[in-house]
Symmetry: C2
Subunit: 386 residues, 2 copies
């Protein structure tokens, strides 16, 4: 049976389950009995039709307050396949992806998106499965002055849009070190800063520790005109303590640009970023790429199988989760797409007031417990039968 019978989980559920039961299924699985579908302008819909990408938009309503006005923000998530062959010249590969994604950002602008985020390492194939350094390291560029950042600064300014761009970074100030980095560009086109991936996988085809180390930029929260945002890159979503520190620094939306494949992580995908939204009373935006990438040379996957050249399929399924547990449907599992969600950031404080998770988190207890557990002579708290 093909892994890809299903275009999307949500469409499958909706098409087969009778309406009265579907509402209950939807409530239990998605936190809401029905999606709040937003109308999109023709310009955005036409671009999606002309350039063959999916576009979906949902609202996640919050309670109305007496004193604070709603703090509505539209976030966009872009998932896409690469464009050219991985054996094409590096700059051509990158430009072809730029070209594709620029169109999707244009559609996002037509739909009044305020903050947009692309997938992890969006300018390149996810070539780390090969363990080859050449030519892949040539994709790395300076976070602040590199060509991708420059290109996006123009768009950010033109569209009045905050852009989160996850790239392979080359840090020439520190010995040409390579990092997995997200750059945040303000809606005025200014470079705000960067975050380097905190947790690096060594699993399956994700041989990333061969290329870059654990990030040294802490857990920055970027105070943009549209809200306080942070970026938890890919494998960091498996680490609840990583999500938590972004929350402690005040994040209202945490983006999770990722690249992950079905056999490895698909059953975990709907769980982790959503759990983070709930546990930390903020919104999360989980973004994965789509498609299968073929590499010039054969490589092995450390799983006892024969050498091969294909990596994937990446299963897309990008989605947005809210602090109250509501989540949007996912984008397609195999098509390029733009997911738009209109959030009211007031919900973050509302959920904190309701559920009290920060108030009850007992942070000093865990600071001290983690400190003890970090010691070489740590003695776990074990109780044995007397």
């Amino acid at each position: 049976m093909s892994d890809f019978n299903l275009h999307s989980l949500e469409e499958c559920l909706e098409s087969h389950i009778p309406l009265n039961e579907y509402k209950e299924v939807k409530r239990i699985l998605y936190g809401t009995t029905e999606d709040h579908v937003l109308n999109l302008p023709t310009a955005a819909i036409s671009l999606a039709a002309d350039y063959n990408f999916e576009i979906k938009a949902y609202g996640i309503p919050a309670r109305k307050e007496e004193i604070r006005k709603p703090r509505k923000v539209r976030v966009g998530a872009i998932q896409n396949s690469i464009v050219l062959s991985t054996s094409a010249p590096i700059d051509k590969q990158r430009e072809a992806i730029w070209e594709k994604v620029r169109i999707i950002i244009k559609a996002a602008s037509a739909a009044d998106v305020n903050i947009i985020c692309m997938q992890e390492a969006w300018t390149m194939p996810f070539a780390f499965c090969t363990r080859e350094k050449f030519p892949w390291c040539e994709f790395a560029e300076d976070a602040e002055t590199g060509p991708t950042t420059k290109m996006l600064q123009e768009l950010a300014k033109a569209y009045n849009m905050v852009i989160i761009s996850s790239i392979l970074e080359r840090d020439t100030t520190h010995g040409d070190t390579i990092w997995n980095t997200s750059v945040v560009i303000s809606n005025h086109g200014r470079y705000m800063g960067k975050h380097r991936k905190n947790h690096i996988p060594r699993v399956g085809d994700f041989n990333e520790s061969t290329y870059y180390m654990e990030g040294n930029t802490g857990h920055p929260v970027f105070e943009t005109e549209f809200g306080k945002i942070a970026v938890n890159i890919c494998y960091g979503r498996h680490h609840p303590q990583n999500w938590m520190m972004f929350g402690l620094n005040g994040a209202e939306i945490v983006f999770n640009p990722s690249a992950t494949v079905g056999a490895l992580s698909e059953p975990l995908w709907g769980i982790e970023a959503r759990n983070a939204a709930i546990a930390n009373s903020y919104f999360t935006v989980a973004i994965n790429r789509v498609g299968t990438e073929e590499f010039p040379n054969e490589y092995t996957s450390g799983d006892g199988q024969k050498a091969h050249r294909a990596f994937g399929p990446f299963y897309g399924s990008s989605y947005v989760a809210a602090p109250n547990g509501v989540r949007t449907p996912g984008l397609s599992r195999h098509r390029d797409g733009l997911l738009i969600a209109e959030l009211d950031l007031n919900m973050c404080r509302q959920v904190k007031d309701f559920w009290n998770f920060p108030m009850t988190q007992r942070l000093p207890l865990y600071a001290e417990s983690f400190q003890r557990a970090s010691q070489l002579d740590f003695k776990p708290q074990i109780i044995r039968e007397q």
Copy 2:
């Protein structure tokens, strides 16, 4: 539309979705294309039929290793409604629940269960919604020498079964303090120790901070003959750092005895304990009560609605989640039930070796970050546009 059209989410999905698509849905939502249903002995099935409770049993297979033998253990989770009216004498109410649950434990024994766990505060109605101290505090008993522990010690010994019993505890050594406590009894009938609920809710009808304080027993792991187990009581499941400390202390199975109602938490239920299993490379067992409980006096719920006497429905749906993301179907949303899962504890280390979550968790970073975030003059790491 009634909240209770659905007997179980899983049965609904299975009955409506065509088989080829169902397998993909099941894989994405439950981590496995099909459940491994275990055969049960007639004695267990007959008890379930005679006493009107659901009984389900699943295996969660692990990889075969060369050096270690499989470490198979059968865990049981009991969900149940109360028996007598909440206005009946306290000791009669308790005895009636004992009587019901003893039968279910007997069925578990017939099915070779090694470790069993009842729901939170299993000997009583979940009366904390009322904010009344009398008569509910009379349910509290000594963890080590109280009547419930004594009663269960006999069963544990007779059935060679570890029993986790969550009760309202009265600590006469410390000023008659009341606690929400889980008692662990060994399969030899010995009192091993106790754990007091670490995080106490102040939300909706869960006015528990009126009755007891945050636990002072840390994150103990009980090294039983069948594996290293811990208990994360109810609201503690919303706190990833709480789950994490049980993992750092070496837990292989963490039970989450709970009491929670549909409108409040049902969309979160399938997420949190399962995320904990994934993030910490251990098994989790999430247990919720069923039924609606009527109290003698009206009470209000702090939600602007009229005073009322009913609390519920509690939605059951108890389930087991594995470190690799696989989960069992849930028990019914409204019937008493016994869920049995046969686990191979070797999976915990296998998943750690595969995913490397402990190796990549950067504990010292978070010990220090949490320490800073605990300070009164904490300055969050905020980056503003220059």
